[in-house]
């Protein structure tokens, strides 16, 4: 589910109050466990609500998400524990005073009185961490800070809740010890074991979405930890997918602006130190020496260049093409290496493209007479966030009544025409815009369209006419005498 960014008008809130009033009696949280997987650019948060129905047939469970957390969230889905079906979820409103947003999750079947179930809410936060200190020398380690709310808010009474924060490495420089929680717990409010911090358990918390609760009970906790892999941010990804029936070919070209979101390089880059550290095999965590990408199987002539020509510092292992539909577990692995190691705060922009046989991703539906082509939204880059993505799909020339089905709604999409080699009227083009894509978002866009036979014939006709024209010109030129007076 893509990220929502709008505040509801006030009047909605008026409608909200009574509804909440009745909402709060329908459920009770027997236990809430929130697990925060800290990382570089991405933070995975899994919250499990063990809920008990207080009334018969109560089927709509309300989630409360604080505003700032909501700002960072780019992926949100709710499941029943142990089931794969995603529950329908919609934004019902926002409390202006507390800034809390409310989502209503539709349970598959209403719960009876005292029946229990477990809801698993999965969210991915982007840009939730920031490097601290903001600058680091070439050899220094990389430390990040993460801030979050201590308590999971809920419009319902909560029996017990705890928050686990897992850091990538056991090096945790500091973490907040919350005060004044006597109301909820008597022993130490936080315990650390290895790479895991546990806040809680906090017992019998009243319904916590009310303003005064947020005011005086809610706390902010900060974790300062060491991250041993680089913070990869893609500031902009422009993907162009061109479908060609003449070449039976699907060309995909990614235009990527890479940014190292880690601590800025303090002082200067010394090749000597870089080479020695690489030699001793302990290159600092905030350097991006390269990335390993999993491209589709069966791709040919992969190209990798930037503004000033080829980049010859990469290796590719292609896997053979797999027939459509069959579950393909094998990939062509590209060890992509920038021209220079990308240190903290540096940028590197490049273009990566390849051809793949059309039959691997396209099918012809004979009864509708339409083509169906599957185009992945992006090439997943492990633990990287894509701030802006633009996917441009170029259909063959003369394609008519086309339609597209993205895996999740785009923030904006437009249809234009694009003219390239030997085109006469140009090709229809679909462009989709996305924000804040994570590794969760690697879905597939399905495009359907119809290409009449005449459209197929356009190219050869155009070329043939051009050549005939040239020949005719040559003929006339040979036969016309341009001299003013005849030589004798």
């Amino acid at each position: 589910m893509a990220r929502w960014r709008f505040n509801l008008p006030l009047l909605l809130l008026a409608a909200l109050q009574p509804w909440l009033a009745l909402a709060e009696h329908s459920f009770e949280n027997t236990a809430i466990v929130r697990t925060v997987e800290l990382g570089g650019a991405l933070v995975h948060v899994t919250t499990t609500y063990a809920i008990k129905a207080l009334e018969d047939g109560s089927s709509v469970y309300t989630l409360a998400i604080p505003r700032d957390e909501h700002q960072k969230t780019s992926w949100l889905e709710v499941k029943i524990k142990g089931q794969s079906a995603i529950l329908p979820l919609d934004l019902v409103g926002q409390d202006i005073k507390t800034g809390i947003l409310y989502y209503a999750a539709e349970l598959p079947k209403p719960l009876k009185l005292n029946a229990t179930t477990n809801l698993v809410v999965e969210t991915v936060q982007t840009h939730a961490t920031y490097p601290w200190p903001a600058e680091a020398g070439q050899k220094d380690p990389q430390s990040l800070k993460y801030e979050t709310e201590l308590l999971v808010l809920s419009p319902y009474v909560t029996a017990v809740q705890r928050t686990k924060i897992r850091t990538p490495s056991p090096q945790v420089h500091s973490f907040t010890k919350p005060e004044g929680l006597e109301a909820f717990t008597l022993e130490d409010p936080v315990t650390k074991s290895g790479a895991t911090l546990t806040y809680g358990p906090y017992k019998n918390i009243p319904q916590s979405t009310s303003e005064d609760f947020v005011e005086d009970k809610q706390k902010r906790v900060t974790v300062h930890y060491e991250c041993d892999f680089p913070v990869i941010e893609i500031s902009k990804l422009t993907r162009a997918a061109e479908i060609s029936h003449w070449g039976a070919n699907l060309n995909i070209e990614d235009n990527i602006v890479l940014h190292n979101g880690g601590p800025k390089l303090k002082g200067h880059f010394s090749r000597l130190e870089h080479q020695s550290s690489a030699y001793f095999g302990r290159s600092p965590p905030h350097v991006i020496p390269g990335m390993t990408l999993h491209l589709p199987a069966g791709i040919q002539n992969v190209y990798y260049y930037d503004f000033i020509g080829n980049v010859s510092t990469s290796r590719l292992r292609t896997a053979p093409s797999v027939p459509k539909g069959s579950p393909s577990t094998q990939f062509s692995v590209l060890e992509l290496k920038p021209r220079y190691p990308v240190l903290g705060g540096w940028n590197y922009s490049f273009t990566l493209g390849w051809d793949s046989p059309l039959r691997d991703s396209a099918g012809y539906d004979s009864k509708t007479g339409k083509w169906v082509v599957a185009i992945p939204v992006m090439t997943p880059i492990p633990s990287a966030v894509i701030d802006q993505a633009e996917v441009k799909i170029v259909l063959p020339e003369g394609a008519t009544d086309f339609d597209f089905y993205p895996p999740f709604p785009a923030s904006m999409n437009e249809v234009a025409s694009h003219i390239t080699y030997l085109d006469t009227i140009g090709r229809p083009t679909i462009t989709l815009h996305y924000n804040q894509l994570t590794d969760k978002h690697s879905g597939i866009i399905y495009v359907t369209y119809r290409v009449p036979f005449s459209a197929h014939m356009k190219k050869p006709l155009a070329v043939a006419t051009a050549f005939i024209g040239v020949f005719v010109l040559a003929l006339t030129w040979r036969r016309v005498d341009t001299r003013i007076q005849r030589q004798k």
């Binding site: 000597l272 000033i308 020509g309 080829n310 510092t313 021209r339 390239t420 030997l422």
Partner: protein, 785 residues
């Protein structure tokens, strides 16, 4: 009846023969163009489609501006990033022909919905034009001898290394199109001279204009054609054809050439162009004289007339000289002098002398570039002397002038190559004509038998012998002269000196027997094959590397690309502010502007000696002296090329002495070349290096922390083959910003003034002191070692 060495098909109608020959000719030309283009693609195949070397990067950048902003924007394009802070009026200081050409091609292709990348157009422009050059050379040679010679010439120039060296794919430089324009202008000139048609004269003028717009070397045409005309006059070969051709060419050509802003009024103001003007005037006078003479017939009057003609010509010359002294006409420019004696350049314009392609040419490079054409060349010239028509006079003059210039400057090999190809083709095709021609002469009675034996009888009559070759032979037989002296030497003198214009006679001409023919023909073919091998080898090995990317080979033999330049330039482009000023030696100016897209202090268009000398001074003086200079020109980054690690010999330390010399030219009392040598007068970088050398910015930036790379071991500079001092130089005013993978490109950031107002040296010392306190144990450990 004539005997034949071998039989020829007799049942061919002349029409068939002519058609076949013309078809064959077209096919041959097509193949030649194909070969010409293909042999220039080594660079693209071995590396990639990339712009080569230095100047092409500017042309490429300019072309991009042209296609992006349109021609008028380009016309008055002021580039503030070059020659910072002066900037450069590009529109007025370039020869726009090249950019305009590729711009037009680009527009046409895009109009046809062929969105070809402008880079590929630029890369492939030179090969494309080389095929045109082959064609125009064919036309030119055809005028001199015949089609077969033309085809040979086209083939030669198609693959001869002397021309490929400047026109491989990616060397996007003015020469790429200039040679085609040169040959085509000359062809039109010859044509105009032969037919006396103003039409061809005007065409020549138009292509001359194109040439002026395309290459500074147009001065070569500007002086070649008048020289030719003058020679013809002196040979008493004045004709109305000459008058028409020259007048139309000069009038139209000069007016047209003045439209190029970079040229402007030079055609009437500078000495380089005065020859053309003078000959023009002389022609008018003579034409007038001829006119009068045709009407008057009094003997004395004619003598008077001649006297006055000579007098007037003399006066004209005096007038020009006078004007030169008055300063109305600019005297020869330094660059022009340096053609006559390169010592001049070394002394007064070191920038020119410092360029490697301005060095004199040793004979191996002649042979490398022309191979067996080089000795066919004189033979061809002699043959031009045999039939001394006007166009042959042209070739002869061209041959002398070009061979002199090619000897003086390596790069002018380019202008020599076409004439060599033409002359060699004439000689070679004459050989073939003579020995392919099946007609045998009548042997004297006593030896008739022996000749009959190996001569295959055939009753074809001469007119219907198919090949054009045998047609020529008819002429040859007819033209052969008849001074029947006996003895080989007598033969020699008689026959060599018997030109086509010589007296006709009935002396037997031809070759007896088939074996003799076979020997020579096979020999000739062998030579051609060898030539092809040679050209392929030279092209692929010597002329196809884009000096931007270096190739080495891995232990397993596979090609390994050394891409340091682009690595560093791209780093600049991506990780420095748009306005960061980069200082480097001028060789790299264009590349930095093109690839890193950052302002530069100096670049390869070396129009401002002082500015370059300033950079030279900064590089060759100590940090304390250089720092104010850097700050004044608000330089943010300094870029040096250092080949010591992988043995890349074209690096800055090897160019350093030129920086010193150029700086010395402007500040003789601050920079002195001798101070950079050791006491023994050697140029060394090891412990013996002179203190001035060791303190110079260039030295420090090149070897900063280089010794540490070798750990404890002895640091070696692989270019100089010398040991680098163990304790490397220290930098107080600069700071290493980036160093490429193989250390070829090293970029340093210029520190801003110290916040506390201390001078950076002491500030640095202070910081170091602190650090030392902190890392006590480390230092003690050092002490122990």
């Amino acid at each position: 009846m004539t005997t034949k060495a071998y039989a020829l098909p007799s049942d061919l109608s002349p029409a068939t023969v002519t058609n076949t020959t013309s078809l064959l000719r077209i096919i041959a030309l097509a193949f030649i163009s194909g070969a010409a283009i293909a042999s220039r693609l080594f660079a693209v195949i071995n590396f990639e489609s990339i712009i080569h070397e230095f100047d092409p990067w500017f042309n490429y950048r300019a072309t991009r501006v042209l296609v992006a902003d349109g021609f008028y924007e380009f016309w008055n394009w002021f580039d503030p990033t070059a020659w910072y802070p002066l900037g450069r009026v590009v529109g007025g200081t370039v020869y726009p022909g090249l950019m305009a050409t590729s711009g037009v091609i680009y527009k046409i292709l895009h109009a046809l919905n062929l969105p070809v990348d402008i880079r590929n157009i630029c890369v492939l422009l030179a090969p494309g034009f080389s095929s045109l050059t082959a064609w125009s050379t064919y036309m030119f040679t055809k005028e001199l001898k015949d089609e077969s010679a033309g085809l040979l010439a086209a083939a030669f120039i198609g693959i001869v290394p002397g021309y490929i060296s400047r026109s491989v794919a990616g060397s996007y430089d003015n020469e790429a199109i200039a040679i085609f324009l040169l040959m085509f202008t000359f062809f039109n000139w010859i044509k105009a001279l032969k037919t006396g048609s103003a039409f061809f004269g005007t065409i020549a003028a138009l292509f001359y204009f194109y040439m002026v717009a395309a290459w500074g070397g147009y001065a070569f045409i500007t002086n070649m054609i008048p020289l030719h005309a003058l020679a013809l006059l002196l040979m008493g070969r004045y004709s109305s054809r000459l008058y028409v051709a020259y007048s139309s060419w000069y009038a139209v050509g000069t007016l047209a050439s003045m439209q190029v802003p970079f040229v402007g009024f030079q055609p009437v103001r500078t000495s380089e162009h005065m020859a053309a003007l003078g000959v023009f005037g002389l022609l008018q006078i003579i034409a007038f004289a001829e006119l009068v003479r045709s009407h008057v017939s009094s003997k004395q009057f004619q003598t008077l007339l001649y006297a006055s003609v000579i007098g007037l010509g003399f006066l004209g010359t005096l007038a020009i000289i006078g004007l030169t002294y008055k300063g109305w006409i600019a005297p020869w420019t330094g660059r022009f002098y340096s053609l006559w004696d390169t010592g001049y350049a070394k002394k007064y314009i070191p920038i020119i002398a410092s360029v490697s392609e301005h060095q004199p040419t040793a004979w191996p490079s002649f042979f490398m570039d022309l191979q067996f054409l080089i000795f066919l060349f004189p033979a061809g010239v002699v043959m031009c002397f045999r039939e001394l028509r006007d166009e042959h006079v042209f070739v002869i003059i061209y041959a002398i002038v070009a061979s002199y210039f090619a000897g003086v400057m390596v790069r002018l090999m380019l202008t020599l190559t076409p004439v060599v190809c033409v002359a060699a083709a004439i000689a070679f095709s004459t050989v073939l004509d003579t020995y392919i021609n099946p007609v045998e002469p009548e042997a004297p009675a006593d030896e008739a038998a022996s000749s009959e034996v190996n001569s295959v009888a055939s009753d074809v009559t001469n007119p219907s012998t198919p090949t054009p070759v045998s047609k020529k032979s008819k002429k040859a037989v007819k033209d052969s002269s008849a001074s029947s002296t006996t003895g080989p030497f007598g033969d020699l003198v008689a026959s060599v000196t018997s030109g086509k214009s010589g007296k006709k006679g009935e002396r037997s001409f031809g070759v007896f027997g088939l074996d003799t023919r076979l020997v020579v023909i096979f020999h000739a073919i062998g030579m051609l094959i060898f030539f092809v091998w040679h050209c392929t080898w030279v092209t692929s090995n010597a002329y196809s590397s884009p000096s931007v990317v270096l190739a080495s080979s891995n232990p397993d033999g596979s090609q390994h690309i050394i891409d340091d330049f682009r690595e560093a330039y791209y780093w600049l482009r991506q990780n420095t502010p748009e306005t960061a000023v980069v200082m480097s030696w001028w060789d790299y100016g264009y590349q930095i502007a093109g690839m890193a897209d950052r302002p530069t202090l100096v670049d390869n268009n070396t129009w401002n000696n002082t500015h370059i000398a300033t950079v030279g001074k900064a590089m060759s003086s100590s940090e304390e002296v250089a720092y104010p200079i850097l700050r004044k020109h608000d330089v943010d980054y300094v870029l040096v090329i250092f080949g010591g690690l992988i043995g890349y010999s074209g690096d800055d330390i090897n160019k350093f002495l030129w920086m010193v010399r150029i700086a010395q030219g402007v500040w003789p009392d601050e920079i002195q070349e001798p101070n950079y040598f050791t006491r023994k007068g050697e140029y060394k970088i090891d412990d013996e290096a002179s203190p001035t050398m060791k303190n110079s910015l260039m030295y420090k930036m090149s070897y900063y922390r280089y010794a540490e790379l070798f750990g404890g071991g002895q640091a070696l500079d692989r270019v100089r083959g010398q040991q680098v001092p163990k304790t490397g130089p220290t930098l107080d005013y600069l700071d290493e910003a980036f160093t490429s993978e193989n250390w070829i490109v090293r970029i340093y950031e210029v520190k801003k003034e110290d916040l506390l107002g201390r001078d950076l040296k002491s500030a640095n010392a202070f910081a170091q002191g602190k650090k030392r306190k902190r890392t006590k144990p480390a230092s003690r450990r050092k002490a122990l070692l």
